[in-house]
């Protein structure tokens, strides 16, 4: 049985604690009395995964078994989560490959010929053929690519269809092929409590017209947090859309969850609590840290991005999206949730090298912001780990680097928009339409491998709740120019950062450190 998550209070005996900082990490001594939030220990993965998948497909929740839903002559569309989850990517064979292969076997056995596979990438960049192959496996790739295995194209007007509008006037517009299918099988990986369920089809296959109803500053400021669906205005919107979809399309949802085996063996110490490191862990920390610091930045990035997680799968559930998602969420929380006794004046977060939008790419400053103030800040239930007006301290170098192919509109956003204002509302009002409808960005999204023009603005909205909540944001080791451009501050050491923070929160602040990754979600009472 895995041990539950817990909160460590730093005392004299506490060793220096691990802190992620981009493509590197360090051990940091925290002030006495700081509270460190650890996730539950990694849960055991399911054994005989293929049998568990087979079982889930045959015994779905609230639906007929999958093989009974399949019949000759039907249109079947299999949609799967794109490369933005899980993070880091999982070792092959990917769980999606295992599930898709079984679904396809069943479909073949039932004589279903009209099968399409679509990556639910929404406004994310297209997956490259190599990335698709890695996700669905060689066999599926060879049989379906390129004509029947594709990326969703949110700008292909001819292949989008409007399902209708919710009672709040939200337009639901999704991929036409999926909408006109007799059955959509959605293959999901739920890494956090925000993903999966109603979000899968309504977001993954949607267009900008549809997404703008929940990807906006107002909704995100009222999603507290967006990892806690009952209290997330964003999820309320997803639910309304999913409700509308439920009336016209038939979705068979297959959801999976993974455990906290985030890092492979040779950096196994990253998965462990510091005072439990044995000699081997300590030696490998020293060796890896030294090698990593010595490696040129480019090589360092390549090595980290080639690292795949040896995740264990903790659940496979199939059937009606709503019922399935309840089970899935329970599994996610079981792995990530740790109870914390109230927020602190200061929250500390170590930001890793990867976020959903820089897989095989470069983590640019905007992505650092959305990872820190968006994803990590929102890893809470109840209330944030920092009190209102408190200070968040992040560890990340925030280098001024961008991938010219993947993030072209990010570059322009950073250089032109942020130079003018960092206020999410002002940005939304003045720039969203321009970035969303720019023909060159649309061209690059459709034909190259670029994120949609509006995506950097979404990243900025992602942090809107944190920006409103926090009194100050400080990056330890952050590039001065880039952090300043984004309206934050940088400090060279934790001591300096704490000194800066004291201006706002007083001489003896309380501190919460969210020890992640592996992912930890704070249940703050």
């Amino acid at each position: 049985m895995s041990r539950p998550g817990f909160v460590l209070e730093v005392d004299e005996r506490t060793p220096a604690l691990l802190m992620h900082e981009g493509e590197g990490f360090r051990l940091e001594k925290l002030p006495l009395g700081s509270r460190v939030i650890y996730p539950p220990e990694s849960l055991p993965g399911l054994r005989d995964l293929d049998a568990r998948i087979r079982h889930a497909l045959a015994n779905p929740l609230g639906r007929e078994p999958l093989h009974e839903l399949l019949r000759p002559g039907m249109r079947l569309t299999i949609v799967f989560d794109d490369l933005s989850i899980p993070l880091p990517p999982m070792r092959t064979p990917d769980i999606r490959q295992r599930i898709i292969e079984q679904v396809l076997e069943l479909a073949a056995a039932k004589g279903v010929d009209d099968v399409e596979l679509i990556a639910g990438n929404a406004l994310h960049r297209r997956m490259t053929p190599a990335e698709l192959k890695r996700t669905v496996g060689e066999r599926v790739f060879r049989s379906f690519f390129p004509r029947h295995l594709r990326n969703h194209d949110a700008e292909d007007k001819a292949n989008l269809t409007e399902i209708g509008q919710t009672r709040h006037g939200e337009v639901v517009e999704i991929n036409r092929r999926a909408a006109e299918s007799d059955l959509i099988v959605y293959v999901n990986v739920s890494l956090t409590a925000m993903s999966g369920g109603p979000k899968s089809v309504s977001v993954g296959l949607a267009s900008y017209r549809s997404l703008k109803h929940h990807h906006n500053v107002h909704t995100l400021r009222h999603s507290k947090s967006f990892n806690d669906p009952p209290n997330s205005a964003m999820h309320h919107s997803y639910n309304r859309m999913a409700g509308l979809l439920d009336e016209s399309v038939n979705i068979f949802q297959i959801e999976t969850t993974v455990n906290n085996d985030t890092f492979p063996d040779y950096v196994g110490f990253l998965n462990k609590r510091e005072w439990e490191w044995n000699l081997k862990d300590q030696a490998s920390y020293l060796a890896v840290k030294r090698a990593n610091d010595l490696a040129p930045p480019k090589q360092r990035r390549q090595i980290w991005h080639r690292t795949a997680a040896p995740y264990g799968v903790t659940s496979v559930t199939a059937g009606d999206p709503i019922q399935v998602h309840e089970v899935t969420t329970r599994h996610v929380l079981r792995q990530q949730l740790t109870e914390v006794d109230g927020p602190a004046d200061i929250g500390i977060f170590g930001l890793p090298y990867i976020c959903p939008y820089n897989v095989n790419s470069i983590m640019n400053p905007i992505l650092v912001m959305s990872l820190g103030l968006g994803y990590f800040f929102n890893l809470y239930r109840g209330q944030p780990i920092v009190r209102p007006g408190g200070v968040a301290i992040y560890y990340h170098p925030v280098r001024n680097e961008f991938h010219p192919v993947h993030h072209p509109s990010y570059i322009d956003f950073f250089e032109e928009v942020l130079a003018e204002t960092t206020d999410p509302v002002a940005i939304e009002t003045k720039f969203e339409e321009q970035f969303a409808t720019d023909p060159w960005y649309i061209h690059l999204y459709r034909n190259s491998y670029a994120y949609h023009g509006v995506h950097p603005l979404y990243m900025w909205y992602w942090g809107a709740h944190a920006m409103e909540h926090l009194g100050d944001v400080i990056f330890v080791g952050g590039n001065r120019k880039t952090t300043e451009r984004m309206g934050f501050r940088s400090a060279s050491t934790l001591d300096d950062a704490l000194e800066m923070a004291r201006e706002r929160v007083g001489r003896s602040p309380s501190i919460n450190y969210l020890h992640a990754p592996p992912l930890t979600m704070a249940d703050v009472r």
């Binding site: 001024n400 991938h403 010219p404 192919v405 072209p408 250089e415 060159w440 690059l444």
Partner: protein, 752 residues
């Protein structure tokens, strides 16, 4: 002495430094004297126009303020008239009631081409005195010359007619013929060949028209330089330091020959005329005079050493003393057959040594340093007076080292650091050029071991009535050098320069603002390689080839490319078009549709990976401003497809296709160098665009004709040649390097 009451004076050179001061003095202190100015028309402004402009100069301010603007205007209307014309033409008729003629016109420069110097300083004198003779009157001629007409000599020079055997008619005829002769010489094959070779080296890649234009420019420069040489050497061979003093000396001879026995002649020979001591106000000066550039250069810290003798005398004289002396001479006509000579200088009775000047300049700039553009103040050097030889050696070594460094940099790779070095070298070169010019020009003056006596002038001064000496005196002995230099002269000449060096230095690299032009009347033309993308023809080809070939074929392809590389590079050095022609042979046999597919699926992103995001943003900004965006490139058209969407017009090389496969030939000549400019001009005509309002972006010197064809050129990541050119033309220079993936990464992401 008559004090010029009721006199009518003809003044030449009225717009010059001394002339302005003379006119002011007559207007302000000789209320009954009339002046006629002989002013040449210049460009579209007539002599009268020039007088109007002249009267607005600061020299007249004190007078105008004292009497009031209206009275001043009335006085000018009543007492000043203008003869608008060129001497030498027979149409000029001088007034027939002249009592004196002050001939103060002269060349401004010390080393003009020989024919220019003779035209003004000898022929001008002939023409003027002939014109005076034609009036039938016999006014007193005051011929303003210079003390240095005595030539290069040592010891004491008395105030009398010059002692030399040069024959002015012969020299004048030779000088006139010199231009024709040099023009002939400049058309000799040898000279033209050198000009053409030089031009080709620098402009060959731009195309034949640019090369020809540059060669002609070099020929004209050569002619000017030869004529300057003619002048300097002829002067030196006869014992004068430069053509200026030589021709002034001949001018005196002309005056003596034409006037002795016919009219009274006085020759006034001022030394180095500098800012005024008291009138019209202390420190009045018009432009920089001879010693001033040196003083300023010293103050700016760029004059480390100078070839002067520490005990040599720098014969400086304030302009108001020269004015007073000249007018006093004008009021004292000598007998008709006995010309009078006067030296106006300080060397004889109140000498200022070169060491004294240096100490004084140093003292001044130590106490009042020049501001260094927001970086505190400039430090001034200490001179050790090592002598002319050492200085010459220093100069020569410096020049050699510099020229080697500059050449090396021109073939160095273009990056921020080499550009920075280039800037440094250019500054060094400016300094050295400056030193060279002044040490050559003024060497003789600063090494002078000669004293010009001024006893006759002193006698004239002493003859002044006591009440006039205060306002009209001209005794050089009254000058307190410390006061004059520290309080009057240095502040006057440094005032404007202080303003210029006070501001923070800003680079001119700001891009031109984009004006909105919705009707497509403005073009923004971009070069591709180096400007919008970091890749080049070879890199793009190689990527395409490697994507297409199985891995096993890579080594052979790479080896072949490396083997042929010297040939490609040689072609590239000669001519961009030739390189393209040679290189596209590699596409021979490739499948047209296959290449298009490859570009669509693999290479498109390779181009974007190697693109400069700032460049793409700039293209898009032009589009947003309603400009017509144009891409001109030598790259094969299929390969630029991925970014073609950004442009209204794409001009690229097209490969010739036979049965669906490339033949390895181009469809039409590649657009390079000036062919691009020609194409752009035609395109602008066709679409009705205004090129002077248009924008151009290029990175290589071969883009120069294209950039020069538009009103707003921008050098993007320029190569050293273009950088040098852009700097000299003050074109904005953009550095668009951020966020471009390095070639290795792009290869890995694309081909692996």
């Amino acid at each position: 002495m008559s004090h010029l009451d009721g006199d009518h004076i003809l003044l030449t050179g009225g717009t010059g430094f001394l002339g302005q001061a003379l006119l002011e003095k007559v207007l302000s202190s000789y209320p009954t004297t009339r002046v006629t100015l002989l002013i040449r028309r210049r460009g579209s402004s007539s002599g009268t126009d020039r007088l109007r402009t002249l009267l607005k100069r600061p020299v007249f301010n004190t007078w105008r303020e004292a009497v009031g603007a209206e009275a001043a205007a009335a006085a000018v209307a009543e007492r000043v008239s203008v003869i608008d014309g060129e001497l030498g033409s027979t149409e000029v008729t001088l007034p027939d009631d002249l009592s004196a003629v002050i001939h103060a016109a002269s060349t401004v420069s010390f080393d003009p081409p020989i024919d220019d110097a003779f035209r003004t300083n000898v022929q001008g004198v002939v023409d003027l005195y002939d014109a005076v003779a034609r009036t039938g009157t016999t006014p007193h001629i005051v011929h303003v010359s210079t003390a240095y007409v005595a030539g290069a000599r040592k010891g004491v020079v008395p105030e009398r007619s010059l002692d030399h055997d040069a024959v002015w008619r012969t020299e004048l005829a030779a000088a006139r013929a010199a231009r024709d002769s040099v023009e002939w010489d400049s058309r000799r094959p040898g000279v033209l060949r050198r000009a053409l070779a030089d031009a080709r080296k620098d402009h060959g890649k731009s195309g034949p028209q640019s090369t020809a234009a540059a060669a002609e420019e070099r020929r004209v420069e050569w002619v000017e330089k030869q004529l300057v040489e003619y002048g300097r050497l002829r002067a030196q061979s006869l014992g004068w330091p430069d053509v200026y003093t030589f021709t002034k000396a001949l001018g005196e001879r002309v005056a003596e020959e034409k006037l002795t026995g016919a009219m009274p002649l006085s020759v006034v020979r001022p030394a180095i005329v500098e800012s005024s001591l008291r009138y019209p106000f202390p420190g009045w000066i018009d432009g920089f005079k001879m010693a001033d550039p040196l003083i300023l250069a010293y103050g700016r810290g760029i004059l480390p050493e100078f070839p002067g003798l520490p005990d040599g005398v720098l014969d400086v004289i304030p302009v108001d003393i020269v004015v007073n002396a000249t007018l006093a001479v004008a009021a004292t006509p000598p007998p008709v057959d006995e010309p009078a000579y006067y030296h106006v200088g300080s060397g004889s009775r109140n000498p200022l040594t070169f060491r004294g000047i240096h100490d004084s300049v140093r003292e001044y700039f130590t106490e009042h340093p020049m501001p260094d553009g927001g970086r505190g103040q400039i430090k001034v050097p200490v001179w050790t007076f090592p002598g002319a030889k050492r200085v010459e050696r220093m100069l020569r070594t410096g020049e050699k080292a510099l020229s080697v460094a500059q050449k090396a940099l021109l073939s160095a790779p273009a990056n921020t650091r080499t550009r920075h070095w280039q800037d440094d070298l250019t500054k060094q070169k400016d300094k050295l050029d400056f030193l060279r010019k002044y040490s050559e020009l003024y060497g003789v003056y600063t090494e002078a071991e000669v004293i010009y006596t001024d006893s006759k002038l002193l006698a004239l001064h002493r003859a002044l009535p006591a009440e006039r000496t205060e306002e009209h005196g001209f005794d050089a002995a009254v000058i307190d050098w410390h006061h004059y230099l520290q309080e009057v002269h240095y502040p006057a000449i440094t005032a404007t320069m202080r303003k210029a060096t006070a501001g923070r230095r800003t680079s001119s690299s700001a891009l031109p603002p984009l004006k909105h032009a919705p009707n497509g009347g403005v073009i923004a033309v971009f070069d591709l390689e180096g400007t919008i993308v970091a890749s080049n023809v070879i890199e793009t080809y190689l990527l395409a080839k490697l994507c297409d070939l199985p891995r096993a074929g890579w080594p052979a392809e790479l080896a072949d490319l490396v083997r042929r590389m010297p040939r490609y590079l040689a072609a590239e050095r000669r001519d961009r078009g030739e390189f393209l022609r040679t290189f596209v042979r590699r596409y021979e046999g490739a499948d047209e549709a296959g290449l298009a597919r490859l570009v669509k699926h693999h290479l498109g992103d390779a181009l974007l990976r190697r693109s400069h995001p700032e460049a793409i943003r700039q293209v898009r900004k032009h589009r947003a401003a309603g400009h017509r965006t144009v891409l001109i490139t030598g790259t094969v058209d299929v390969l630029v497809q991925p970014i073609a969407g950004l442009f209204d017009e794409v001009v690229a090389s097209r490969l010739h296709v036979r049965d669906g496969r490339f033949s390895g030939f181009l469809e039409s000549p590649p657009l390079v160098g000036e062919a691009r400019a020609a194409w752009l001009r035609r395109y602008a005509e066709t679409v009705g665009a205004d090129l002077t309002e248009s924008y151009g972006y290029g990175d290589s010197y071969s883009d120069r004709p294209l950039l020069e064809a538009v009103g707003h050129p921008v050098a993007v990541n320029p190569d050293p040649h273009l950088y040098r050119h852009a700097k000299s033309r003050r074109w904005p220079v953009a550095h668009w390097k951020a966020y471009t993936l390095p070639v290795g990464d792009a290869f890995v992401e694309t081909a692996l």
